[in-house]
């Protein structure tokens, strides 16, 4: 049963706890330049958008890599890097439509979400439940229910209006 990170943008408060635990886990320091999940913020609009690797099946970053350093790990359903091959050209950085690959300026390497080897800490620590690590095939359930409810309410209202 493969799991995926599902982000509910409307629940994100921009607390950046996910960024903190991510960089601490991977690099041993709390540094927002060294984490694999990033919160893009528009404070004046009240918009907080966590951006993270979507672990694409047909990943543009894998296609773009000129040394075949990026590959898919089918066991966990994630994209990983073979740093032995990586030359740091950063083509993957521009190939990613989500801008989900970062360049760590300290370690001088490209970094992106590796699902913490199966127990993503961001999901564990997110207090509002904006980040969840759930079964891929039922990841749409909550949206489905929300939409279904709206559909039911509007259909009911229309039926009443006609009566």
């Amino acid at each position: 049963m493969q799991k995926t990170l599902v982000i509910d943008y409307e629940k994100c408060t921009g607390c950046r706890l996910c960024e903190m635990v991510c960089s601490v886990k991977h690099e041993g320091v709390n540094n927002p330049l060294r984490c694999r999940i990033n919160i893009a913020k528009w404070e004046t609009k009240g918009l907080m958008v966590p951006m993270v690797c979507r672990q694409c099946e047909d990943a543009p970053c894998i296609a773009a890599c000129p040394t075949n350093a990026r590959l898919r790990d089918e066991e966990l359903g994630r994209v990983i890097v073979n740093y032995d091959r990586c030359i740091g050209c950063k083509t993957c950085v521009i190939a990613c439509p989500f801008g989900a690959i970062n360049w760590d300026p300290y370690a001088k390497k490209v970094i992106s979400c590796d699902l913490c080897d199966g127990e993503p800490l961001c999901a564990k620590f997110c207090e509002t439940g904006a980040i969840r690590y759930i079964d891929s095939s039922t990841a749409n359930k909550s949206q489905q229910r929300e939409a279904a409810e709206k559909l039911y309410e509007s259909t009911k209202a229309a039926a009443e209006a006609v009566r």
Binding site: Y9, E10, A40, W42, L47, V49, M51, P60, A63, A64, C65, P66, T67, N68, D84, R85, I87, G88, C89, K90, T91, V93, I94, A95, C96, P97, F98, G99, I101, N102, W103
Partner: protein, 420 residues
């Protein structure tokens, strides 16, 4: 099914691996003149600089081929293809095939400069070339041509402590992928590191008796121990041409969107083919690694009976210039044939410099120096031919749509200021 793949580059290898993944029984053989196993030319400058060991150039070993049950015949030249008999001629013998995949790649252009045949004058395509360049290291080196290969090699040799001279015929470095402003910024970085850059200058002759001793340009004479020429590559299509395979107007093998040639059982992929640009649809020779890899996958898939379509080539360049990430995709403002009118939107931020090329309300190109993370969003706007007004709409709409990438892009690209 018996498949023969001509060429041991990324296109040929990807095609072979793709067929193997889809067909466990297929008989697959890769034949190449190269004696090396699959390598990546993109890492050669890093090997020359000493940052990468030689071993890291190679992407496959004999064990990998054995594990995939792919046979390899290296160091031998195929002299003919007979499409009607479905045979190729190798070392005087005929080998039959059910399907043939031509992935013969490209070769560096050698400009007809007097003295170009002297020892110590190199092009850079193979690990062998890189070995010779390292062997030939003396006090000074001249690079002819300032495309990404010339620039990366100049940096590599400078890191080795040589006096390096980078000579470009056009008026700025990397003239096909950067407009003047970002090009000048990159030139500044190179010059700061002591690389001598001369633009608008042509090398007229290479001096020396048995070995190169110097070069003469329009403006000066430079003493050097080796010369590396990076002035472009040409598709290897002679074998295909002789066999009656259609060659396109730009000099690459003509293929349809399934990477098939004019012969039913012959496919072609990689640097040897002519394709269409994914965004403009125009015929192009876009001889880059990621296109070759994708074409190999498409050719292999179709060959194995699983239909797949190649959507087109993408002009994407990304290189590291002494720690500054320089990236470019699509077209630049200064195109030689000014058919379409473009506007330019540029922005300098704490993180770097962005330059968007816009035509008809759509992104047709972008260049970036520094943090290029948001280029990806613009790249897909280009590929999808999304209009900027639609992007603005997506950004302004409520509630938040599940497409955060445009929001991310907008932050750095000040799209709100572009209303079309």
């Amino acid at each position: 099914m018996k498949v023969i793949v001509l060429g041991n580059g990324v296109a040929g290898n990807t095609a072979a691996s793709t067929i193997r993944q889809l067909d466990k029984q297929a008989d697959i053989t890769i034949i190449s003149e190269d004696t090396f196993p699959e390598y990546t030319a993109c890492a050669l400058p890093h090997y020359i600089s000493g940052e990468h060991s030689r071993r890291r150039l190679f992407l496959r070993t004999k064990k990998d081929y054995a594990a995939e049950k792919i046979r390899t015949i290296l160091g031998q030249k195929v002299t003919a293809i007979q499409p009607e008999r479905k045979e190729i001629t190798l070392d005087g013998k005929s080998l039959s095939y059910d399907k043939l995949i031509i992935a013969t790649g490209s070769r560096p252009v050698v400009p007809p400069i007097p003295g170009v045949n002297l020892a110590g004058v190199f092009t850079l395509k193979t690990p062998g070339d890189a070995d010779k360049i390292i062997e030939g290291i003396g006090k000074a080196a001249v690079l002819i041509g300032s495309g990404p290969i010339g620039v990366e090699t100049a940096i590599a040799l400078r890191k080795r402590g040589l006096e390096v001279y980078l000579i470009e015929f056009l008026d700025r470095i990397m003239p096909k992928i950067f407009d003047e402003k970002p090009s000048l910024m990159l030139r500044g970085i190179l010059e700061e590191k002591g690389i001598h850059v001369f633009t608008g200058e042509r090398v007229n002759s290479i001096l020396g008796s048995a070995r190169v001793e110097g070069v003469v340009t329009d403006n000066r004479q430079i003493v050097c121990d080796e010369v590396v020429m990076g002035v472009g590559v040409r598709p290897n299509v002679e074998l295909a041409k002789q066999a009656g395979i259609t060659i396109g107007s730009l000099g690459g093998i003509a293929v349809d969107r399934q990477m098939k040639t004019n012969f039913e059982d012959i496919y072609a992929c990689g640097d040897c083919v002519q394709t269409r640009d994914i965004a403009t649809g125009k015929e192009t020779l876009c001889l880059l690694w990621h296109n070759a890899k994708r074409e190999g996958l498409i050719a292999g898939s179709n060959c194995a009976g699983i239909p797949k379509t190649y959507l087109g080539s993408e002009t994407i360049t990304s290189l590291d210039v002494y720690g500054t990430h320089a990236a470019s995709f699509g077209r630049i403002e200064a195109e030689p044939n000014q058919e379409e009118k473009v506007t330019v939107s540029e922005r300098v931020t704490g993180n770097g410099y962005y330059r968007l090329i816009i035509s008809g309300g759509k992104v047709v190109g972008a260049q970036s120096l520094g943090n290029a993370q948001d280029m990806g969003a613009m790249l897909y706007a280009l590929i999808k031919r999304e209009s900027l007004s639609k992007i603005n709409q997506i950004i302004e709409s409520k509630p938040l749509p599940m497409n955060p990438l445009y929001h991310r892009a907008a932050r750095y690209l000040a799209l709100q200021s572009i209303k079309e």
